[in-house]
Symmetry: C2
Subunit: 250 residues, 2 copies
Amino acid sequence: MEDMNAKFAHVTADAGANSPDLALVARLIGDDTRAAFCLALLDGRAWTATELARHAGVAASTATEHLNALVAGNLFAEERQGRHRYVRLANQQVAELIENLAAIAPERATPVSSLSAANRRSALAHARTCYDHLAGVVGVAIAEAMTERGLIDWGRGLRLTGAGGAWLADLGVEVQANSRRPAVRSCLDWTERRPHLAGAVGAALCHHAFEHGWMSRVGSTRAVTITDAGRKALSSGLCLPEEILTRRHS
Amino acid sequence: MEDMNAKFAHVTADAGANSPDLALVARLIGDDTRAAFCLALLDGRAWTATELARHAGVAASTATEHLNALVAGNLFAEERQGRHRYVRLANQQVAELIENLAAIAPERATPVSSLSAANRRSALAHARTCYDHLAGVVGVAIAEAMTERGLIDWGRGLRLTGAGGAWLADLGVEVQANSRRPAVRSCLDWTERRPHLAGAVGAALCHHAFEHGWMSRVGSTRAVTITDAGRKALSSGLCLPEEILTRRHS
DNA sequence: CGATCACTTCGGCGCCCGCCGAAGTGTCGC
DNA sequence: GCGACACTTCGGCGGGCGCCGAAGTGATCG
């Protein structure tokens, strides 16, 4: 039947007649500089144009052009403050798109250039924020510990168990009861290649950890260090072993 | 604190030192022809190189080059059979990536060229497969009816209720109990801009509908028509109104 | 075994797009 | 007001990449 219809089909390039313009959006991310911008903004904070230009190693004028495109394409949202142009990811959906892309994408083959770069790299691999939740060795370990203790359950998709809800309430973690956002969502970690915890609960946990001084940011990067208080809380609350909570310097 | 540290930061283009190569993957989708290939494969079936070339309106040689890139980038998987080269999306993860992209991407501004194109367009908008589940007006209506009847629940993320499990069992729908794949997942419909049902349950329902003759494919496209049997089943099982189940010709 | 067909390889063309630096606009602080 | 600074605009350069058609390979069929 299919062959018969093919005979009568007009020779039309009907590829895009309707359908969303995938390429338009993908092209925005498909450039090394703009991709670097996206990854930088995954830390959930707003960056200025100059910061991004410096981070990606391009001229300010180049950064401006890229930002114009990204804002016009609704991937970034901007906010002008005096002489500064702050940008952030437009919304949750864009953040998830970039996470998905990052999970699929291969590691960039970049020789580690210096000692400080190696250090920064290892700090990121150990613990970092990923948009608004926690990633890296520690993030993955938390997700696995929560699984083992029956706080979350992976059978037929990720789900927060009753015990998990109680555990959060016990800790005093306030989960944003947003109607649309899933309570728990898995996010493939791009250093560990194993899932860590995202979604409303992931975000709430991360927020809670900052609020209670369990961890703090390393400079202005998205790397974080676990404090003594954090080590105490995580090892008693989730039985995370000491080796995982402390970063081994390379 | 952040400002102080910034002063001491070295002037390095450390953008990609570590980190996944987003741009590499995004660039693969960021081309009109390759994007058309991706959308075509969203129907979940394997296409031959020539079919894709014709669909996108490019020469066979061009298609070959694109397919080489997409396979090398692990977005497509290929299977050689005699003189045919069949390709399909490499895995579930890629399919979801493309769905996410499609949900964000704007509609392609393409003037409808002919009557038959308009017809095809309206058929797709009414009911179509999206990878392995059902989309379009009908897909969205099913998801909403299931919500109203308490078979699925959106509070704190999408979840299959007890009643929903019972309903499926009652219908005789066999849900693949894959450990990793979520039972229910929402997928933003790009014609309706509202969510329809994906995940293991979405796939099982779609499979069930084909098996029981509730719907059938329109030629070799991913559009489907609801049969009389399907209208009966869906209106009695989910109280879907007749207007939604029958396509209004434009 | 020769015709046909699906796919591939290659050379060459043209355009798109990312880059920069120089000059311009707007904001802030003194 | 004047310098410093963040950002923007513009012209121009260069490389990358998507396209094609022609010629080649290998499978299939009569």
